[in-house]
Subunit: 237 residues, 2 copies
DNA sequence: ATGAGATAATTTGTTTGACAAGTTGTCATC
DNA sequence: GATGACAACTTGTCAAACAAATTATCTCAT
């Protein structure tokens, strides 16, 4: 017979402290930049050793709630989407390394970028179109320089993300792009197909400029799924 | 004049250890379940104190890469999407509490659920449709019991997520749902509008059953944006 | 031999104390 | 009043010890 799985779970001291600190921040209305009690003070207040305090503090730092600097008192952190997504990196890499979720991530990326293209087609201004045109023109000129071509390619996508005016989309898309690139660069972009890429970018741009949401989304999706297709051809045929 | 911002940054010892552990896992090909060296062994190997080792281990645990249990050796963790998304919770709450990104999150959710509905319309089987019909029928019967109504409502959305067959979508949608509900339940669902909700769910189901991707996505989007609309009416009129 | 239970060894959790290294506030000096 | 040295914090790291939980070992009855 197995041991009873119900009952209480013996929580670690640090977890308790972490909860107390979160409540303290919330109930005292501490905002970004405000200082938290020092370790010594918390030791006295909670009647607990220093390691437990430190462990809780570090956990909150990892979650992006507080900031700790050597010599200075811990402070409530400035909330940062970039930070949140960035801290996922290690975990995502672990996930991609030991599971077969790469295809799911690619599908998610395609959906995300297609949605951004759709919103961009709705919200784009003339300035936006002009900046995209400039990027596309620059990309055409650098068709012979792979690394520069790739760099501008990334900028094109990030520019569309920016037009969508949703920081969550923007940051998430950048993160997913990085994660995919870390694993195998080919999955992100394929060399030797510069002209096709330019044609597809042109289609995306035209759809956005025309304000055709459906066409923009479809053009972006086709663009990304084409890349996935090529990747599979190379690896599994 | 400000101090030179360039040069090197004095990394913490624990960060160094963390990198070394990650390399160790990668280069030795350690998979989920495999044991890592004990603290004592690492102290000897890296000629470093125990706190630094522990700090690095805890950091990796927070990122979901390893698992530590009292009394047992640290092991490479089973990769878990749920875990990754779940660990974002605290940080997201901090973000929502101190920035005005609620609308962006709602927009992201609408896009996510609309995309899942689109995929569900493409991949649905007869069994899927039957289970959705069963849920909708059960929801109709519980129109007078708000908490049960809400529970089935959640199940309906989760079922669609499951049909999309992309764990990333599924887990992410569940996470976003939880985050929004934490902040104010009204943003997730509105009481007193059970009949409207049922009508909209019916539209979504019909579109999915018909395999009409565009209609399914639009129905889901309308459904969620209607909720957002009502929320704004109450708070800002 | 084999399996089960007690026992010992190993490991992480926590405390205490101490010192190093960095930051912040104070105060005399110009 | 601004500046720079200095003292008072604070976090970073190490060390040694014990508590609590797990894992391996060994004994013993079957």
């Amino acid at each position: 017979m197995m041991s009873l799985p119900d009952q209480i779970k013996p929580r670690k001291l640090a977890d308790e402290v972490q909860d107390r600190l979160l409540r303290l921040i919330r109930e005292d209305g501490l905002g970004p930049g405000d200082a938290l009690p020092s370790e010594r003070e918390l030791m006295a207040r909670y009647e607990i050793g220093r390691p437990a305090i430190r462990e809780a503090m570090q956990a909150l730092q990892h979650r992006g709630v507080i900031e700790i600097r050597h010599g200075g008192r811990p402070r409530v952190a400035e909330p940062s989407l970039d930070g949140l997504i960035g801290q996922l990196g290690t975990g995502v890499r672990h996930l991609l390394a030991h599971t077969s979720s790469m295809d799911h991530l690619k599908e998610a990326r395609a959906a995300l970028e297609a949605e951004m293209a759709r919103i961009a087609a709705r919200r784009r201004t003339e300035v936006d179109i002009a900046s995209l045109e400039a990027l596309l023109a620059a990309q055409e000129l650098s068709a012979e320089e792979p690394e520069k071509f790739l760099e501008i390619d990334g900028k094109f996508h990030r520019r569309i993300a920016a037009i969508s005016a949703n920081p969550i989309f923007e940051t998430l898309a950048a993160g997913v792009f990085d994660w995919l690139r870390d694993f195998h660069a080919e999955a992100v972009r394929k060399r030797g197909l510069e002209q096709l890429t330019l044609t597809e970018h042109r289609a995306i741009l035209d759809a956005i400029a025309a304000g055709d949401e459906g066409a923009a989304a479809k053009a972006m999706r086709d663009h990304l799924e084409r890349a996935n297709e090529l990747y599979h051809q190379d690896h599994f045929q």
